[in-house]
C-alpha cells in the first residue's frame, strides 16, 4: 500500500456526458465537491438537490448511477478509469417507468 505526498495520476471519467479528469483514489463524491458541485441528485418527491451527507454510506443521499448500476453511494466509491457516471433525478430507475 504505497503512500506519497506527490500529486496522484488522474483518471478520466464521464459525468452526465462531460469529461472529467479526477485524481486517482478520489471518491466520486469528492470529485463532485472538488469541482464545486455540492449537490448532484434530485429527490423524488420534492425534486430537491442532495449531495454529500454522512460521508460513510449510512444516509444514501449521495447516490449516482455508475456504469449502469443505479443507486451507488458516491462517498464509498472511488473513481475508476473510464467510469460513466450519470446523476439521478427523482430515481435512478426513471428510465424504466411505465
Amino acid at each position: 500500500m504505497p503512500e506519497q505526498s506527490a500529486p496522484c495520476p488522474n483518471v478520466d471519467i464521464t459525468v452526465d456526458g462531460a469529461g472529467w479528469s479526477v485524481p486517482a483514489g478520489s471518491s466520486i463524491a469528492a470529485a463532485f465537491v472538488a469541482r464545486g458541485h455540492p449537490g448532484w441528485r434530485l429527490t423524488r418527491r420534492r425534486a430537491e438537490p442532495r449531495g454529500l451527507g454522512c460521508g460513510m454510506g449510512v444516509c444514501f443521499d449521495c447516490l449516482v448511477t455508475v456504469n449502469g448500476t443505479r443507486g451507488v453511494r458516491a462517498c464509498l466509491t472511488d473513481v475508476r478509469e473510464g467510469d460513466v457516471i450519470t446523476t439521478e433525478r427523482g430515481s435512478g430507475f426513471a428510465d424504466l417507468a411505465i
Binding site: E3, G39, P49, C54, V58
Partner: protein, 506 residues
C-alpha cells in the same frame, strides 16, 4: 400441483467460503481484531464497506501522508501487520463488501467449536455480487455514525456530517468548501475544525451546543484521563492560531441557500436547548460540517440475538460485551464503538481482546486478556462516558423546527406530516412511522429515527399507562437487512444455510 417452480434455478454447488473468524468492519477495532486473530493462528475473513482499511478514523487515500491524521505511525504499523497477514494468506480482506445479515448457528446446535455462523454480504458497491462465509466466530466492529438534528435547511447541499468533511480531507485530499462552520456537540468538532483550518479552509466558527468546561466539575475522572488533555489543548491552540472563534452554548438552528448552502443562523441556547430570543445571527458559509455525537451500528448484533443495552440518552443502543468482548451469543464478539462510544484507542484495545478471544473460541491456545489490559480498557471506557455526559442532547432542539422542515431525509417527511400522523392517533414513534413513513427509506431510520422519537415524545398529550417505552424501543434498531440487497443477491442467499431451524423444511 401447479408447474410454477418454487425453488430458484441457480448454479448448483456454489457453497460459502469457510474461515475460522469473520471480522466485520476494518476500522481501528476490526483491523486490530483481524491482526490479533491471525497472529493467534486463525484464518480471518474481513468484510469492509470501504475501498481501503482504516474505517472512518483512519480514512486515507493515495495522497495521504499523515498530516491530517491522528496516530498515523500507529496506523501504519497496524496496516503493515494487516498486510503481512494478508500476504501470508491468513487474512482475506473483502473491500467494498456490505454485510447484510449474520446467521447465528442454527437453534439446537451446541455452541462452540464446530457450530457455524454464516455471514452474508453484497460483494461490491458497483458489482453487487454475493459473498458468504461460514465461520466459527464473528467479530462485529461496525463502528458508529454521527447523530444529526434536523433543522430548517439542513438538506441543502453543503450541509454534511462533520465526519464527511473530514473523510473528504483524509480520504480524497479535498477541502469541502471555502467558508466552513463546524457545529454540533462533542469532542469530535475540534479535530474536524483544526484539520479543515490546517488544510486552508476558512473556518468561520466552531459552534458547540454544550459547555464542555463542565469537564472541570469532574476532576477525579479528568485526572485519570490526563493523557487526553494535551490533545485537546493542541486542537484549541491550532484553532486559535487560525483565528477560529469557538462559541459554546450555541447552535446552528437554520441553514439557508438557493439549492446550495449560503449561510447559517447561529443562536445561543439555554440549558434545555431552547433558543435564546434575539440571539440569532447569520454567518456566511458554503459548508456546514455538523454532528451531535455518535450512534453505534449494532443491527447485525441485535439480529443475531446479542443482548443490547440502552445508551445514556435513551435513543442509542450498544452491544453488551464481557471481559473478552463476547456478546450474549457464544462465538459472537463486539469490539470498538459497537460496545459504546469510546474513541480509537479503546477500539484498538477491544479489537485485540476480541481477536484473541475469537481465536480461543476456535480452539487456539491464547491467554485471556491480562489485568493491565482490563484496567486500561476500563479507564478508556470511563473517559468515554465522561465525554458523553458533558455532551448531552436535550430535546429543546425540536422547537427550532418549522412545519416545512424535512425530518426524514429519505422519504422527505416534513414535521407537518409527522404532526398530522400524531393528530390521527399515532402516539408512539412506530405508529407515526406506519402512517407518515419516516424511517421507511434507504437508511431505514438511521438518520431520522431518534429525532422522530424525540418529536413524537414531545407531542404526547397524556401519560402512558402501560409503562412501556413508547419512544425508542429496542425494535427501533432492529433491521433484518443491515444493508440494501439486490433481489438477485437475496435469491442467492436463499441457498445458504439459514438460522431458526429452517434446514430441512419442505
Amino acid at each position: 400441483m401447479p408447474t410454477w417452480p418454487s425453488e430458484p434455478r441457480g448454479t448448483p454447488g456454489r457453497g460459502p467460503r469457510h474461515s475460522d473468524v469473520a471480522v466485520i468492519g476494518a476500522g481501528p477495532a476490526g483491523m486490530s481484531a483481524a491482526v490479533a486473530a491471525a497472529q493467534a493462528g486463525c484464518s480471518v475473513t474481513v468484510f469492509d464497506l470501504g475501498e481501503r482499511p482504516g474505517g472512518q478514523y483512519w480514512r486515507w487515500g493515495p495522497a495521504s501522508d499523515g498530516r491530517f491524521h491522528h496516530g498515523w505511525p500507529a496506523f501504519r504499523a497496524l496496516r503493515d501487520s494487516f498486510g503481512g497477514h494478508q500476504a501470508a494468506g491468513r487474512i482475506v480482506h473483502l473491500a467494498g463488501h456490505a454485510v447484510f445479515h449474520v446467521d447465528p448457528p442454527p437453534a439446537g446446535e451446541v455452541p462452540g467449536i464446530g457450530s457455524r455462523f454464516t455471514v452474508h454480504a453484497v460483494a461490491g458497491e458497483r458489482e453487487r455480487g454475493y459473498a458468504a462465509v461460514e465461520v466459527s466466530a464473528v467479530v462485529v466492529a461496525t463502528g458508529a455514525y454521527e447523530r444529526q438534528l434536523p433543522v430548517p435547511g439542513w438538506t441543502l447541499p453543503g450541509v454534511m456530517a462533520a465526519g464527511a468533511a473530514q473523510a473528504l480531507l483524509k480520504g480524497s485530499a479535498v477541502v469541502a468548501g471555502h467558508r466552513v462552520v463546524v457545529a454540533g456537540t462533542g469532542p469530535f468538532l475540534m479535530p474536524v475544525a483544526a484539520g479543515l483550518a490546517q488544510a486552508g479552509a476558512r473556518v468561520a466558527a466552531v459552534v458547540e451546543a454544550n459547555q464542555p468546561l463542565s469537564y472541570l466539575r469532574q476532576p477525579l475522572d479528568l485526572a485519570r484521563s490526563w493523557r487526553k488533555l494535551p490533545e485537546a489543548a493542541g486542537y484549541l491552540a491550532r484553532l486559535a492560531r487560525h483565528r477560529v472563534p469557538v462559541l459554546c452554548r450555541h447552535a446552528v438552528v437554520a441553514a439557508h441557500g438557493d439549492g446550495r448552502l449560503r449561510s447559517v443562523t447561529v443562536a445561543r441556547l439555554d440549558p434545555a436547548w431552547a433558543l435564546v430570543p434575539g440571539s440569532q445571527r447569520t454567518l456566511d458559509a458554503d459548508v456546514l460540517a455538523v454532528g451531535y455525537g455518535f450512534i453505534p451500528q449494532v443491527e447485525l448484533l441485535g439480529e443475531a440475538g446479542a443482548q443490547l443495552r440502552r445508551g445514556q440518552d435513551g435513543r442509542t443502543f450498544a452491544a453488551e460485551a464481557g471481559a473478552d468482548q463476547q456478546t450474549s451469543v457464544p462465538g459472537l464478539f463486539a469490539a470498538g464503538e459497537t460496545t459504546g462510544i469510546g474513541g480509537a484507542d479503546l477500539s484498538c484495545l477491544e479489537g485485540q481482546v476480541a481477536g484473541r478471544a475469537a481465536a480461543r473460541h476456535c480452539g487456539h491456545q491464547v491467554r485471556p486478556a491480562g489485568p493491565a489490559i482490563i484496567r486500561r480498557r476500563a479507564a478508556l471506557r470511563r473517559f468515554g462516558a465522561l465525554l458523553d455526559a458533558v455532551h448531552p442532547v436535550p430535546p429543546g432542539w425540536t422547537q427550532w423546527l418549522t412545519g416545512d422542515t424535512v425530518v426524514c431525509r429519505c422519504e422527505e417527511v416534513t414535521l407537518a406530516r409527522l404532526l398530522a400522523a400524531v393528530d390521527l392517533g399515532a402516539d408512539d414513534a412506530r405508529s407515526v412511522k406506519l402512517l407518515a413513513r419516516p424511517g421507511m427509506g434507504w437508511c431505514q431510520g438511521r438518520i431520522c429515527g431518534a429525532a422522530v422519537a424525540a418529536i413524537v415524545a414531545g407531542q404526547r398529550r397524556s401519560g402512558r399507562s402501560d409503562g412501556g417505552d413508547p419512544d425508542f424501543p429496542e425494535s427501533a434498531v432492529s433491521r433484518p437487512l443491515a444493508q440494501p440487497v439486490p433481489l438477485e443477491v437475496l435469491a442467492e442467499a436463499a441457498h445458504e444455510r439459514a438460522a431458526g431451524g429452517m434446514a430441512g423444511s419442505p
